[in-house]
Symmetry: D3
Subunit: 228 residues, 6 copies
């Protein structure tokens, strides 16, 4: 039970609101239930003209509701422009993530997967790697990358980094919380067979679970674990 056992303070870094729920909702809920503290950082927000202020406000509210459902302590909105992270100097993004990390001092961070099709995901992964190097007397002990239905599944097979999970977290008692948290994102849910649907999320939890003989699981790729 290492991830659950070893985590006192976790930081989940999400490029866009709801990535954190799609990838880690059950694990967040389980960590909180086991006594850990979990913060979430939402790196971008929609900017006009691509997104209306109304839409942005709605998603903001949905995120707060979802995080409350999961027991998240603090949600940090970094407010970089959504779908435009390639237009932000990387040093600036790295710096923002580093400052947040020094602020939260997590022992465990959860990051989006570098192979995801969305360039925002790739860049947030990269920034989290840079920000996780020891400096200023701090580094996280471990880094796990999560999968995001609608992003991880569209990468190019054998031509981008494959998501092949090596860490499995039983979320049998937390799959319902995850689903409810996702449903809080009314603006983001789609009907099955769209992969952004509760049915697809449940099926994925069943598959990830059955692959290690538990009823529901979330799966991750370990990037690094330091037993200091």
């Amino acid at each position: 039970m290492s991830v659950i056992q070893s985590t006192r303070t976790a930081l989940v870094i999400a490029p866009h609101p709801d990535d954190e729920v799609l990838g880690c909702g059950g694990t967040i809920s389980r960590l909180v239930a086991s006594g850990a503290t979990v913060d979430v950082a939402i790196v971008t927000r929609g900017m006009p003209p691509a997104y209306t202020q109304e839409h942005v406000d709605q998603v903001h509210g949905e995120a707060k509701a979802a995080h409350t459902r999961l027991g998240v302590r603090n949600t940090h909105f970094l407010d970089f422009p959504a779908a435009q992270l390639d237009q932000v100097p990387q040093a600036e993004l790295n710096q923002a993530v580093r400052e947040l990390m020094l602020d939260v001092q997590p022992d465990t961070i959860f990051v989006p997967f570098v192979g995801d099709i969305h360039v925002d995901h790739k860049l947030v992964f990269g920034a989290a790697m840079v920000a996780s190097r020891p400096a200023g007397g701090f580094r996280p002990d471990r880094i796990l990358a999560y999968e995001t239905l609608s992003e991880t599944n569209w990468s190019a097979p054998y031509l981008s980094e494959p998501f092949v999970p090596n860490v499995f977290v039983n979320i049998e008692d937390h799959i319902d919380s995850k689903i409810e948290a996702f449903e809080a994102f009314a603006s983001q849910c789609r009907p099955f067979p769209n992969e952004r649907s509760t049915q697809a999320l449940r099926a994925l939890a069943s598959v990830r679970g059955a692959c290690v003989h538990v009823p529901a699981a979330e799966a991750f790729v370990l990037v690094r674990d330091i037993a200091g």
Copy 2:
């Protein structure tokens, strides 16, 4: 719809009985429905003392029932010793697969995945590769590798070939046939959350489907396709 459209005669090569259903049951059913001919080859069979004759007979009967359900034309039992393929000279295995291929003359073959944990799967994959080279005036046009719950999911992440599918077949109208064919293997079914369960099979079909926005799919890795 290339795989379905392009296939007139398919040969599904299974290391052990039921691999062909776990990996291709829905696609077999759809191919048959679309007018193609499908043969199955079962490469090994249980040998005493590891397996009783009674068990072997039972599985043999289950395979015939399952294949009837799916509309398979012929089932070829190659009768190599199960879980002992590493004790068989590879030239002998290659030869047997080659002879079968010359006999069936398939345009499309389905093979187990090389990254599967079971050495029998790896060796059958290799034999099928060797047997697919043009010789004697024949070669198949295309080769697809299928996934096998209970074998593909136990390979070592990033240390063995990852199964990252690039071919998806909608089996919306054939998932029930697949499940029934699997249920014909009463000796092989396990209760969920074991991955050899109907619930896990349905969940996997939902996930593979949702990833390309269809209700149920089987997923494959294309090894080679020759538009001769």
Copy 3:
């Protein structure tokens, strides 16, 4: 013969004029001969001061002549700045490719290879991946990546994605059309042993062909094929 058989409408996306001929000239010709419709999109054009207007006009004319030779229906010039795609917001490039795709509604798209040394090739590959996700009621059925002599052969071995083709198209009856189409690009042809030469193109077709026992072939990497 799946690619040929399954394609009714193809879209070939080329970062710069002549990439489409180097990578797919023979396949375009064969598709047209078999009754399919083929459109080409040229993503960039030379901009002053790097390129003179005269040069740009010449290449434009060469492209039209080459495409006429191959039987291309429409050539779409997207007019992004050549060798400067890294200066274009990715969302903008993605959007342009998506709109084109909705316009042409291809079942098959041909894209440059992500491992090519030129950053324009990498970015066009990425944009095509994003634009190929189902949305607005449309997605292509299959995506193939082609190789481009002078770009694919200069990538860093084992340090960038390798081009290892898994789809081969016999262009025995179309290699001459391909060569003539390439010769239409007088400004781009170089004498052998430069790889942008007719002799190198013919040698490559012979090698790709001999590797599957046909006299001439073009080779591709399948990115995805959905039998919906």
Copy 4:
């Protein structure tokens, strides 16, 4: 500190005597110091005529001394023929490892790396993978692969699985125990610059440590971790 924190019972599987010390000596010592139980399995032993009985007895004694130094509870000698594992039916090797695992019931296992040049290492890795699947009501929670100086460093770059560690264990307080345990293998020590030397072992611990800013470390590749 997850590996240290999460382990109550560890099993270190070594193809040949001293692999367990080269790869995990410091971690074994630290685990024991932190209250965990550690068993070691030596899979092979030298057989005449390749090895004399005298040599085999000597190495056997060295192993016992080394393990005593590290605090190993039990050493299990499986007695397969050294450098001849490719002559043993894999089912037999798998079965022996599985029985041992059911006997010891470890939550954490340490295995040799699949990319090591020695075929015995590859086969023991494979057997451990097979034996770690849930069955008979048991499976280990996590699997880590260790590196072995003189085996891992001779694999073929980019042509075999690379050892790229993602788990680091600080052995600052245990590097001396590791070195002493290795020195107990008098028959296996070589003078620097041979890599089977105490100087090379210390240098490797410094490098693995400095890479995560601790004075000495052992490094591993995580194969799987299940938070059940």
Copy 5:
């Protein structure tokens, strides 16, 4: 010109007669012309009943003629059974290759590629790796893997090690010698478009050459180079 410049004594290891010509014929000729000594080892020979003695004798004679044409000093026939290397204990094969290497003391060895479809090629590659470790006061300085038309081109794309060359040797002045040496293997030549044809060999030399702007080249993957 490092490979040519740095080699005084080369050993080319071929699983079967003619592999050494297909992969290194031009380079052997160039090395000899530049004053180096080149030996060839043929690891296997055909055994009845798979091969007749007449056939074996013929190929033996063809090899001698081809090697004479290229200027090979000695040809070493190791006489392991062709297409049955998987039936030979690996320790035995390793030992034979090691003894040969101690005998010849090459600074450069050329080995078949590990990703080739033929298991004999994979095993000879592995044996050469083991035999190249420093011992008995000797090790080669560098190891290069060559490609073999009819073996390298049939491996499974993205599912076996890809041959992506990083060393190119200009054989402009030696391509004719290579072709003549191959023609000496009358029993092994096939008509184009079979890849075992002089036309395919010439086309491959043109492609490998044009990729680095020389008229003809052989291409290799560097396994290791030690500037001792």
Copy 6:
């Protein structure tokens, strides 16, 4: 001894001052001792406000002192903005590196590793690849990528290109020069166990050396070697 033997003029390309010493200091010293000419290019320099002019001047002086110690002929400062290379058009960076290469006409270039965590390293690698293509009558014969402690060791295991060296240069007689050159960078040295320390550098040289049985080595990945 191919790299040493084959090099008459080398160009070491460093993203930031001291990368060239961390990665190639011993090899530079050995090349100079063997009669070769070595130039260094420092691609970036610190810019206010991130760096003070005083700091930049100090590092500039340190670089000159270090290069004098190693026997570097010329140091070329390209003066792109440090940690902001992602804000520079790639065509501009490519052009600057290409012009330098035409000026120096090196037969061998040393480049940072593409998998390094710092985006400046990735971009300089890419620019060097582009600039190494034959044009204007020139190309380098070989390209080697070096490792940089503090950059190479923080990349994401299995999710970015792994540094698996295939070229080893014995620097037994030059390790002291390397250390002294690094000590000239007083502003960049850190106390062990920081990896930017003389102790870590010595340990790495011992490990890279012991892995091929020499007392100290630098290790590289060969990108390309053309024996023209």
